[in-house]
């Protein structure tokens, strides 16, 4: 949904459950903001019991004092029964606040909540703060961080990605979920929103181009492929690809993510300002995407490809090991102040 259309969304009045299918499944529960679930009369164990993380949305445009107080109550109440639940506070709609004022607001909210918890004896609360808006990439970045709280293998993924980044001179590398563009891991160099934003834009560009061409001229094309295969034994991939053809008339949305990422799809941009972009499919759900400004990066691409193949195998092994795990659940509580 484009951000401008969110204006028409109705207010949430009952618990809505959404499923996020990635390399594993996450449940997202959208809770209405008017109800205090920690007060008696609600099945707190049923609601919060299975939760791994709670996203608490604060409206930065609004008077947030009340919501901060409610958050405080919720944290304190859940700390007693479920100390493992992690909180992520989204200080939301920050697009409408001017730059200087934005930082002040974020700092103020952060201070207020940590101080209150500190006074109540909770010195190291499991809370992170994120400033977000639906009009830019900040919301995806924040959600990515929440997702990562729930991935026990994160350190393994990060170690593998760091290894590739260092050896192949990437400046920033992300393992991105193809459906949502959330990143489930990245190298651990200081993250920057600009890199993530550029790589997501590039990924969108690739999807748009794939939409235009992945259905094309099939009968003719498979003919051309079979002809060519007679003389070219190195290319038996094509034979496999034939079965992956999309049916004509498939709609844009059913086409979008998987097609570019099947059978090891890859993409490369040699930028004219020394910025090169690299993308390689790992599984249908995951792509590795990164950029570099190292000179000679493009020339070293065969070596990089080789290293990424090893990486890809390691990640797949890792996913195979965790596949039988029961999916964890994430719970989102949205505090509606407007």
């Amino acid at each position: 949904m484009p951000p401008t259309e969110t204006v028409f969304l109705p207010t949430t009045v009952s618990i809505k459950k959404h499923m996020l299918k990635s390399f594993r499944t996450f449940d997202i529960w959208d809770l209405p903001g008017q109800i205090n679930f920690t007060s008696s009369g609600y099945d707190t164990e049923g609601i919060f019991g299975p939760a791994g993380a709670i996203v608490w949305v604060l409206d930065a445009q609004d008077n947030y004092v009340e919501s901060c107080a409610r958050l405080f109550e919720t944290v304190m109440s859940l700390q007693q029964t479920r100390p493992n639940i992690k909180f992520a506070v989204f200080i939301h709609k920050t697009d409408s606040i001017s730059d200087d004022y934005r930082e002040d607001t974020v700092r103020d909210i952060q201070q207020r909540i940590t101080d209150d918890l500190d006074d109540a004896g909770l010195t190291n609360p499991p809370i992170t703060f994120h400033s977000t808006s639906v009009y830019d990439i900040s919301i995806s970045e924040a959600l990515s961080k929440v997702l990562q709280l729930l991935i026990p293998q994160l350190p393994t993924f990060e170690a593998l990605i760091n290894n590739i980044a260092v050896n192949c001179c990437f400046h920033k590398l992300y393992l991105i979920d193809t459906l949502t563009k959330l990143f489930i891991a990245s190298d651990t160099s200081p993250g920057d929103t600009a890199s993530y934003s550029l790589l997501c834009d590039w990924f969108d560009t690739l999807m748009d181009l794939a939409d235009l061409y992945s259905t094309e001229g099939q009968s003719n094309e498979s003919h051309a492929i079979s002809e060519r295969n007679n003389g070219d034994t190195s290319n038996d991939r094509n034979a496999v690809n034939g079965s992956a053809l999309v049916k004509p008339g498939a709609t844009m949305s059913t086409l979008a993510p998987p097609y570019i990422t099947e059978n090891d799809a890859h993409s490369f941009v040699k930028g004219s300002r020394g910025i090169d972009l690299y993308l390689r499919e790992i599984t249908v759900q995951l792509v590795l995407v990164g950029w570099s400004k190292q000179s000679g990066f493009a020339e070293r691409k065969p070596l990089i490809d080789y290293n990424v193949s090893l990486f890809s195998k390691a990640i797949k092994d890792c996913l195979q090991v965790i596949a039988p795990d029961p999916p964890e659940t994430e719970e989102a509580q949205s505090s509606d102040n407007s």
């Binding site: 590039w202 560009t205 070219d232 004509p248 040699k270 930028g271 300002r273």
Partner: protein, 324 residues
Amino acid sequence: GKVKEAKQKILLMGKSGSGKSSMRNIIFSNFVAKDVRRLGATIDVERSKVKFLGNLVLNLWDCGGQDAFTENFLTSQKKFVFDHVGVLIYVFDIESRETERDLLTYIQIIKCLEQYSPHACVFCLVHKMDLVQVESRDAVFQERRALITQSSRSYAKRMVSYPTTIWDQSLYRAWGNIVNSLIPNMNVIEDYLRHLAESIEAQEVILFEQSTFLAVKHIRTARGDGSPYPDRLERLSHILKTFKHSMATFTESSSSSHQFEEFYISAPTFNLVISNFTSNTCVLCVFPPGDSEITCARINIGTARQEFFDFDMPVSSRQRSPLA
């Protein structure tokens, strides 16, 4: 004749607020649609030279549409403005409540054009179509087109009109066609591209101007018949322009310069390569999947680039004939 033809004057006219400068800045100065809210009204005439292909310089006159300026253009500055015009682009705001008055102004402009540049081409853009409900867009446009044609006097038969909005690819369709009507030697370009397409068994080869990403020429081979997207040229302009803008934002460079030398996608069902071609064009090729196909295509594009090289030179110095 040729050299003069390359220095044609393009007049951009229409009522104040109709969206002339918005379109100019998106196409030629790499604004994104939401940036244009910052634009102020154009004072008098803003002249700019846009180098399009090697020997084609577009001499663009963005004429402020406030009544006082229009009045001047029609009287004291008449000869200055309407002399040596190659193309008139006239913009109608679909939201305007004074259709009749808009058409009267248009007729006066057309009369001046008849007097000083009778052979000019006339394009009319019915703009801000995003403000019309999707279902009625076509009907509204046809109705407006009929009125404009009636007012076009001796240009009525030749006048071409397009519905446009800065919010989708309709903008690229209109401007792509306008700019194409100005490019000489189109058949020479076509020969080169067709040859390239055959050498890599491509289903599609498209030549884009590099800074605007308007399609200059498009070759579709038998192999590529049956694309479900008849509007893909303008979609491609839109997609690539947007990406270029993201790259420019990231590198904090002025985005009118080009942002990549090569761009390729290797997907299971197709390969796509975009590569620098001449100093201000790039070529997009779509061909069957496979890694060796990519290597082959890159070599062939390199060869074609060499052969095409002198196309970008001034006409007078060009000697070589197209590929046999």
